[in-house]
């Protein structure tokens, strides 16, 4: 055992950091959710919130308030909104981790490279043309197709020799965003007043009006996406060595690439279908988590899912309560924080690599 002392074991050290980070994130998440459920025009104390939640799952305590309206506010209005936020945050953060892994570039994010816009365009098209071919799944399905098209386009265009240069990635993102933006503008022009409102709402990103039936669609998609990500996480570590070397280490690179691209499209469509474009979550969260627990993909993915959920829970709390009687678009808030963060990342990347490599 004396070797344990002599040989540095950074992997294990980071392992314990991962455990601590996970616990802290989970506790913070629970705390923010309980506080958020109680705040708003109809204010409730955290203990009352806990009482209502416990009563909803069949545990009677004397914590819950007597007024039946409280149950309605919590369970039918605030809770679905918060749950949708958690799912969207986790989906976006994990999609960021996955995209950064296959692009070999820490600046890849669903909104930055235009995948979110592609998904929003798909969703908007299904609404404007009144498509109902897949019933409730029509809008998420169309968002999936739009997102998939965008991510494949970005991938094919921006990669060269197994890596993606920052400039190429960002310029491709601008182009894809512009094309999707033109499509959205055209749909706005074509649409009725109500679909126009929907499209504008998508471009801003909002959790307002979330319903349990939305969550019934978003939850399985997010779960499948995160699970798929966890299954390929080990191979994504090898991908960081470059495609050729990953292949030499036994990774079936082409297959992995396809699985990851489809997974990204599933996650982004889950995030965008009912909440619109909420930018920078996939950029900020994986980056912070990498700084805390290191770049190994399995722990990074789990911590990012929690971190993304936490970020959106906090952002949603601010969106609902910062301005009295107003519900700010959450996409605006994440962009407000994410924009400067993105700039900082850009400057740092440029300084490190001595150019725009």
């Amino acid at each position: 055992m004396s070797e344990e002392v002599v040989v540095p074991t950074p992997a294990r050290h980071r392992g314990s950091r991962f455990a601590v980070a996970t616990i802290v994130l989970a506790l913070a998440l629970i705390a923010v959710c309980v506080i958020s459920l109680g705040l708003g025009q109809y204010a409730l104390s955290p203990s009352e919130v806990v009482g209502i939640l416990l009563r909803a799952i069949g545990v009677d305590t004397d914590l819950a308030p007597a007024a039946p309206t409280a149950d309605g506010v919590i369970l039918d209005i605030r809770l679905p909104r918060i749950v949708l936020g958690l799912l969207v945050g986790a989906a976006l953060a994990v999609s960021g981790v996955l995209m950064q892994a296959i692009f070999g570039n820490p600046l890849a994010d669903a909104a930055v490279v235009g995948v979110s816009s592609g998904a929003a365009l798909g969703a908007a098209a299904s609404l404007t043309f009144g498509l109902t071919v897949f019933g409730l799944w029509t809008t998420p399905g169309a968002a999936f197709l739009g997102g998939l098209t965008a991510v494949i386009a970005v991938y094919l265009i921006s990669r060269a020799g197994g890596r993606t240069e920052v400039v190429t990635l960002l310029l491709t993102g601008i182009a894809i965003n512009a094309i999707a933006g033109a499509g959205l503008a055209f749909l706005t022009f074509l649409g009725t007043t109500s679909t126009r409102e929907q499209i504008v709402f998508w471009q801003l990103g909002s959790l307002n009006g979330a319903l349990w039936q939305n969550i019934a669609l978003v939850a399985p998609l997010t779960a499948v996406g995160i699970l798929a990500g966890m299954l390929v996480a080990g191979r994504l570590d090898l991908f960081a060595l470059g495609e050729r070397t990953a292949r030499h280490l036994g990774v079936r690179v082409e297959l992995l690439r396809i699985v990851v691209i489809i997974t990204v499209a599933v996650l982004v469509c889950a995030a965008v279908a009912f909440a619109g474009i909420i930018g920078f979550v996939g950029l900020i969260v994986p980056h912070l988590m990498r700084m805390i627990i290191g770049p190994a993909h399995l722990p990074l993915l789990i911590a990012s899912a929690l971190g993304g959920a936490l970020l959106l829970a906090v952002a949603d709390l601010v969106a609902r309560t910062a301005v009295p009687l107003a519900d700010l678009p959450i996409g605006m808030l994440t962009a407000l924080v994410g924009g400067p963060f993105f700039l900082w990342l850009l400057v740092r990347t440029r300084r490190r690599s001595g150019g725009w490599a």
Binding site: P10, G104, D237, A240, T245, H248, G250, G294, A296
Partner: protein, 256 residues
């Protein structure tokens, strides 16, 4: 025993020009087999064919008698390890994590038990244990090259393929790396190595394949292949070759 064999291999580029024509090579167990030749001779192309990265237009490549194409990637990774010339890592993985990636092909096999030992030994051999906890992107070029080599050694395969492993290294680490490679061959490994330095080739290789303009010019024992006349013919630079006064190993000196 021949492990990695290419016969009559040709590779064409898009305009139909052959960058490798009818090349054959036989890498045997227990031998260091050097691929040498001037820039653009086709060394890297032949290396890529042997590694399975390039599919030749004609000719066959076999590993232990079986066509390379037919071997499952994971199984292939348990039999041969490849070190490329440029080694970058996209994210700040630590040195130890990078070396441990060499063990990935052995996950969920009995050999997984040796992961820790293989990683530790490979880091000690390549003299990188001292910065095991540092991140790969923070290392110097020479340090990165040694870490990449450690990763390949940790893979513990009977066939090793190394593309200019000494290019970024100072004299001492260059000799260290070549001694490691020699030791692996003595222990039974088949080693294919692309080298630039003819003196290194003469000192460390058991067998040499000399390429020029996409063709194999000569193959055999280093002393027989790398004669003054042939070097001048292939490289276009007159040289003197004479035995080292101490060891008797031929030394190549350009005529200046």
């Amino acid at each position: 025993m021949s492990r990695l064999v290419a016969s009559g291999v040709s590779v064409a580029v898009d305009d139909g020009r052959l960058i490798l024509a009818d090349a054959s090579i036989e890498v045997r167990a227990g031998e260091v087999h050097a691929l040498v030749g001037p820039n653009g001779a086709g060394k890297s192309t032949l290396f890529g064919v042997l590694a399975g990265d390039l599919t030749p237009a004609s000719g066959t490549v076999t590993l232990d008698g079986a066509p390379l194409r037919g071997i499952h990637p994971r199984e292939l990774a348990r039999r041969r390890a490849v070190l490329l010339q440029s080694n970058t890592v996209s994210f700040p993985f630590t040195v130890e994590q990078v070396v441990r990636m060499g063990r990935a092909p052995w996950a969920r096999t009995p050999a997984e038990d040796q992961d820790d030992a293989a990683v530790r030994d490979a880091m000690a051999e390549t003299d990188v244990a001292g910065f095991a906890a540092r991140t790969f992107p923070s290392l110097s070029g020479g340090e990165r090259a040694r870490v990449a080599l450690a990763r390949v050694l940790a893979q513990a395969t009977p066939v090793l393929m190394l593309d200019e492993p000494t290019a970024a290294l100072d004299l001492k680490h260059q000799e260290d790396v070549l001694r490691i490679v020699r030791a692996r061959a003595l222990a039974g490994a088949a080693v294919a190595i692309v080298l630039h330095d003819l003196n290194v080739t003469l000192a460390y290789a058991d067998r040499v394949t000399l390429l020029s303009r996409g063709r194999v010019v000569a193959a055999g024992a280093p002393g027989e292949v790398l004669t003054a006349a042939r070097i001048e013919e292939v490289y276009g630079q007159p040289v003197d070759v004479f035995p080292h006064p101490g060891t008797g190993v031929p030394v190549v000196v350009p005529r200046r």
